[in-house]
């Protein structure tokens, strides 16, 4: 069932510190027993232990640090017994008693994580999720490799707060303006707004706010204050998206980075692979320069294997990050491939992006083979270089094409596109010069693991496309021949997998050679810019952790536990009727743009960007990071796929009727979202028994039971005293302290008597009594509280 593999519970030893790698042979009580209480001997998970008499099984387990999950248990109150997931097995009992309500007795033999109770816990969780219309991460954010806080920055965009929006973006991706132009936007295909009208233009929105920040001549916003220098030095090999991202975050953490680049200028594939019309290089440099603003140094014209070796520098640095990307084109593997007239696609882009005319392409009849971004870039570049005729041939259909979004623009510019055909041979004349390419029609077979249908050749359907130039762009791999010239210990340590990629551990990106880390395309094979950035950011976190002297095996184990991010997200489609069209960026007409390498999309206006951001449904949960349900779901691998069409009943067998309740924002301090409520009854108990107000109770019967106020009235109409106890006890995000968004406030200094009450009362120490006896104004450039960042940091499970 896969459960035991991640946290070691399969052996029946729930150890409470799942995955921390700690030897759990000793259950040491976390606080000593009260002197004078009687100790009794019990057996928990096969261990003879002494516990205090009079405790429940759950209390005893918590004292011993043995993890038993709970949802409805409120330590301040008598056990309630609603959620049933704290049940354990006790020898000699047929049923599985709930540990919160069972007294521990002398000689009890208890198993907290037997297969039976694990299955039962999973059953409860799956049942809860089958009626849980709520999100943890919004689907857009979950689908972004960098996990950038999309609702967060869009909210700032609606306020026109471009700098704050950019700051939020830069927490997860340092180059929002670049990605705003070149990202394939996997986020947008999963936007829940699609269920209302059309998806939010997430990419175009961050392009706008990041551009505004680049426009002004001021230091770029940084996601959090730069740490003081750590004294560590890091060599970054490659100044592409991966290397620059790693340098950005390592520099922020106080490590001194030297960035080695083979070419004369920064950017890697951003500069030499992506054409000017998609990413203007001057603008790109402005954003990449943020890395140098943080103090990193650039070492151009340093090609690994030619100008230096890792062996030369490894002693000078505390760590080396290899982010050299994929520069080796895959071969077509068909007869006649080396014939005159074939051009390396990357070489072609390398020349074109530097603005060098490629004489060969002028007036040529060009065939481009492939369906990725390199292929489409070659196609559109060839058009701009003045080719007479450009034909793009792809073996699958449009739907499965990685660069599908750009195809219609290429066609507008005059290119011809042929789908479902694969090359079989080059047609050459007697002199070995290409005159055409022979293709074979492909039919679409069974879907592969990514859901793309596998092309299958159809013999007898061959046809020839006449041409004089062929650009093969069917993928790239990393160029790793430099490994051979490394010294012994590095050469033998670095491993290359069967797909030709450099091997580094998942999650922590460490290679077999100490100090050397690798991520990005060199590890994964050619992928998108955003994937490289996501990898590099995580690698920088791992390196930072390691540079600070911690053991990387620790996060590795925890990553394995937490990385399978649960997809248990939406169940109910969004139904409110709030139709509003998506804002579309202006762009040049095809005739105008096809002769020039200038950027052809104009970007939003400010009003457009604000309007577009306000379309965001903000499908995010404020409780992420401290939700007991999510924690249990991760631990018990209970998932439900997030997108409606991806959901299958194998994932959660209990999918069925469900409730979509509203949200109550009428109260000033308590935010209620019934859809997230799991009906554990904790708030009702706490409010009645501790506070004495009794605002909540169960209403309704059967499946429709719900814990809420009488007849769903606002909390304002109940005896609520705004104490917040209900929000404190809520195990999920159904009851939350309401975020108080103070957009503006006025302070009349002429009336201030300096009583200091405001300073005393401020919960965040934003106002303080300082040495100068007067108010001072302060700019808000200190970082905001970052809930997502906090959630990224795993808490030890109880």
């Amino acid at each position: 069932m896969g459960f035991g593999t991640t946290n070691g519970h399969a052996d029946g030893n729930g150890n409470g510190t799942s995955g921390s790698g700690k030897d759990t042979a000793d259950y040491t009580p976390i606080w000593p027993m009260v002197p004078g209480t009687r100790e009794i001997g019990v057996t928990i998970n096969g261990r003879q232990l002494q516990v205090e008499e009079g405790q429940t099984i759950l209390q005893a387990c918590r004292v011993l640090g043995i993890d038993v999950p709970t949802l409805c248990y409120e330590p301040k109150l008598a056990p309630y017994g609603a959620c049933r997931i704290c049940a354990v097995e006790v020898e000699g009992r047929d049923d599985t008693p709930i540990s919160c309500g069972t007294q521990i007795e002398e000689g009890m033999v208890i198993t907290t994580h037997s297969d039976r109770v694990i299955e039962n816990r999973r059953m409860v969780l799956e049942l809860i999720f089958s009626d849980h219309d709520a999100y943890c991460l919004p689907p857009c954010q979950f689908k972004c490799p960098t996990r950038v806080d999309i609702p967060g920055y869009l909210k700032q965009n609606t306020l026109g707060n471009w700098e704050e929006a950019t700051r939020i973006l830069k927490r997860s991706l340092p180059f929002p303006a670049i990605l705003g132009r070149v990202c394939p936007a996997p986020c947008e295909t999963h936007c829940r707004r699609e269920e209302v009208d059309t998806a939010i233009a997430i990419r175009d929105s961050h392009r706008y706010c990041a551009d505004r920040v680049l426009e002004v001549d001021a230091p770029a916003p940084i996601p959090w204050p730069k740490e003081p220098p750590s004294g560590r030095r890091v060599a970054i090999i490659g100044s592409g998206p991966a290397g620059m991202t790693a340098a950005y975050y390592l520099q922020l953490r106080g490590h001194q980075c030297d960035v080695f680049e083979a070419d004369p200028e920064q950017g890697g594939m951003l500069r030499y692979g992506i054409p000017q019309y998609r990413l203007p290089k001057g603008w790109m440099d402005r954003e990449l320069n943020h890395v140098w603003e943080l103090g990193a140094t650039f070492k151009p014209n340093m090609r690994l294997g030619r100008d230096f070796h890792l062996g030369d520098i490894i002693d000078d640095y505390d760590a080396i990050y290899v982010g050299i990307g994929c520069y080796k084109s895959n071969e077509l593997g068909i007869p006649g491939e080396g014939a005159t007239g074939t051009i390396n696609a990357l070489e072609n882009l390398y020349n074109s992006t530097r603005g060098v005319p490629v004489p060969r392409l002028k007036g040529a009849k060009v065939v481009v083979i492939g369906g990725g971004f390199t292929a489409i870039d070659c196609t559109r570049t060839s058009v701009r270089q003045g080719a007479a005729e450009v034909t793009l041939v792809y073996r699958r259909d449009l739907k499965d094409m990685p660069a599908a979004d750009e195809v219609h623009e290429a066609i507008e510019e005059g290119a011809r596109v042929i789908f479902q055909a694969a090359p079989t041979r080059m047609v050459t004349d007697d002199a070995g010069v290409i005159t055409g390419v022979e293709f074979q029609r492909m039919k679409l077979g069974a879907p592969d693991e990514q859901g793309r249908r596998r092309p299958e050749p159809m013999p007898g359907t061959e046809f020839i496309v006449e041409c004089d130039t062929v650009l093969g762009a069917i993928g790239q791999g990393p160029e790793l021949s430099w490994i051979e010239s490394e010294p012994e210990e590095i050469r033998t340590g670095l491993e290359v997998d069967r797909r030709g990629n450099l091997v580094a551990e998942e999650h922590i990106f460490r290679t077999n050679v100490p100090k050397i880390f690798a991520s990005g395309d060199v590890r994964t094979g050619a992928a998108t810019v955003v994937e490289a950035i996501g990898e590099a950011r995580r690698a920088s976190y791992a390196m930072d952790y390691w540079l600070r002297g911690h053991d990387l095996d620790d996060p590795q184990v925890r990553r394995v536990v937490t990385e399978p991010q649960p997809n248990f997200l939406t169940i109910v489609p969004f139904t409110d009727d709030v139709k509003e069209p998506r804002a579309i960026m202006g762009k040049q007409e095809a005739d105008e743009r096809k002769g020039t390498f200038n950027e052809y999309e104009f970007g939003y206006t400010g009003d457009q960007a604000m309007a577009e951001a306000s379309r965001c449904l903000q499908c995010t949960c404020e409780a992420i990071g401290h939700c007991d349900l999510r924690e249990a779901a991760i631990e018990y691998e209970t998932t439900l796929n997030m997108a409606i069409d991806e959901r299958s009943i194998q994932d959660n067998p209990y999918v069925g009727a469900n409730h979509g309740y509203g949200r109550d924002e009428t109260h000033s301090f308590i935010l209620r979202d019934y859809s997230r409520c799991i009906d554990c009854g904790r708030c009702a108990q706490v409010c009645k028994e501790i506070v004495g107000a009794g605002c909540y109770d169960f209403i309704g019967k059967g499946f429709d039971s719900l814990v809420t106020t009488a007849d769903f009235v606002s909390l304002n109409e109940t005896p609520c005293v705004s104490c917040g106890r209900c929000a404190e006890t809520c195990p999920v995000g159904a009851l939350m302290p309401r975020p108080r968004i103070l957009e503006t406030y006025q302070l009349d200094v002429s009336r201030c008597i300096f009583c200091g009450i405001c300073a005393d009362a401020c919960p965040y120490d934003a106002l303080r009594c300082g040495p100068e006896f007067e108010f001072s104004e302060y700019q808000r450039d200190l970082p905001m509280l970052d809930i997502l960042e906090m959630s990224d940091r795993e808490r030890p499970t109880r």
């Binding site: 959620c83 049942l127 209990y654 499946f703 039971s705 719900l706």
Partner: protein, 457 residues
């Protein structure tokens, strides 16, 4: 006569009438009439001649077990409550009739309310309780009227209240009306409802006999049990134990409904074979397909099991329960799947909502049955029915949740072909797929859903 029973309650001859003897003969609104038939002699004997422990000993000698469903020995429960520390002790008569198919409690409450009152007062005396409460469901207006009258008459006659029958025993007697929810039959749920909360079960232990209503030791007995108590004290433990099976002594009120010529209430010694029960209701044994015994938490026995005896152990071994004593007879024109769905849906819609697996799980089971009935099952629906039921029973908060899948599981085991025909071919082998089209079958069930949500709270 002023004491007519509600129309759906018919008392059938046959069996051995003990509790039913006086119904129809005694005027339920008259203490004098009850006394003419020998009423309150048992209470008088208990209070004036016996020590409380002797009363308990007599009940123990009779071998009386709770008639509310679980069959827990009454004397044991009383002894726990009697021995528990505390000045304040409470006894409660449960006339909530958890099981809607059961007619016994209502017949007693409407036909001979003083019998319940007398049994309750004896219980109070035996336990040492100073408070006795009759909890009756609100929609039984006739029963409430008569129980209130009986309680008032008993108090005025010094059979209850201050210094009962001139002794130093005082028992405050009250009638409490609550909304009739299925779950209120569960004693902890009833206690929660009595204390003003929503009627939802609580964790046991502590058992109410040790710590119950207002934290006082509390004995909750079903109305029929209390009637038996009065009968035992009026006659004798030996007389009570003269009939019955080895472990289950005495008689039991059984409601025969469904496809029988004479649906109604019978009283039979425990241990009577099911086939005799059928005969008393003129059930055509030739056409009988299955007996659903024990209501929504019970189970189905097929026609081949008619020699099973009606007592706690045999029925449990056969997959059913005594429950509150209803037997739903079905014939070849009754669809087993639909009947199972009916019971399960009743459990699902009556769920109190506290235990999460019960609230959502019962609903999911009903949905799976609906898919099977509609011939659109998911591939794993049958395993879902079995596995989810097993896991729910494993983690159940209360007995009603644990037993809820019973009718479905037993029919699934005994009539798999009907399930398969529905699921695979969309064919009902019984040819009649709506329980609602079988009026005689469900007449006693009418009105059970009248309790509104507001009442339920």
């Amino acid at each position: 006569m002023a004491g007519a029973l509600s129309p759906q309650i018919r008392i059938l001859p046959g069996g051995e009438h003990r509790l039913l003897t006086e119904i129809g003969r005694v005027d339920p609104s008259s203490l004098a009439s009850y006394r003419e038939h020998g009423g309150y002699a048992a209470l008088e004997r208990a209070v004036t001649k016996l020590a409380p422990t002797e009363v308990i000993a007599e009940i123990e000698a009779a071998g009386l077990r709770g008639r509310g469903g679980s069959g827990f020995p009454t004397a044991t429960k009383w002894r726990v409550a009697r021995d528990a520390a505390g000045d304040r002790k409470i006894v409660i008569a449960n006339v909530m009739s958890a099981d809607p198919t059961d007619l016994g409690d209502r017949a007693l409450a409407e036909g001979n309310p003083h019998l319940i009152v007398e049994g309750l007062l004896i219980a109070a005396y035996a336990v040492g309780a100073s408070e006795a409460i009759i909890a009756v469901r609100r929609d039984w207006t006739d029963a409430i009227d008569r129980l209130q009258t009986a309680a008032r008459q008993a108090t005025e006659a010094h059979l209850a209240g201050y210094l009962v029958l001139g002794t130093d025993t005082s028992i405050a007697l009250n009638v409490w009306e609550g909304s009739g929810a299925y779950v209120a039959g569960e004693e902890t749920a009833l206690l929660n409802a009595l204390s003003g909360d929503r009627g939802m079960p609580a964790i046991r232990p502590p058992y109410p006999a040790a710590r119950g209503l207002h934290d006082a030791p509390t004995v909750v007995q079903n109305a029929e049990t209390l009637a038996h108590v009065a009968w035992i004290l009026a006659h004798s433990a030996e007389a009570f134990a003269s009939v019955g099976s080895e472990a289950s002594r005495g008689t039991k009120l059984v409601t025969m409904i469904g496809r029988v010529a004479q649906p109604g209430l019978i009283e039979v010694p425990l241990g009577t074979p099911l086939i005799d029960l059928l005969a008393m209701a003129d059930g055509g044994t030739g056409t009988t397909k299955a007996l659903f015994i024990g209501g929504p938490g019970g189970g189905a026995l097929d026609a081949g099991s008619l020699n099973t005896t009606y007592d706690y152990e045999s029925l449990e071994a056969a997959g059913a329960i005594v429950g509150s004593g209803s037997v739903l007879v079905t014939d070849s024109e009754t669809c087993m799947v639909d009947t199972a769905r009916f019971f399960l849906n009743y459990s699902a819609s009556e769920a109190c909502g506290k235990a999460i697996p019960c609230r959502i799980g019962t609903k999911r089971l009903v949905e799976a049955l609906d898919r099977i009935l509609a011939a659109t099952p998911r591939p794993n629906d049958f395993s879902l029915l079995r596995e989810l039921s097993a896991k729910m029973s494993d983690t159940a908060l209360c007995k009603l949740e644990r037993l809820a899948p019973g009718p479905m599981l037993t029919t699934l085991e005994r009539f798999p072909e009907e399930y398969r025909a529905h699921a695979e071919r969309g064919v009902c082998l019984a040819g009649a797929c709506r329980v609602s089209e079988m009026p005689p079958l469900l007449e006693p069930l009418s009105g059970i859903s009248s309790a509104t949500d507001a009442d339920h709270r």
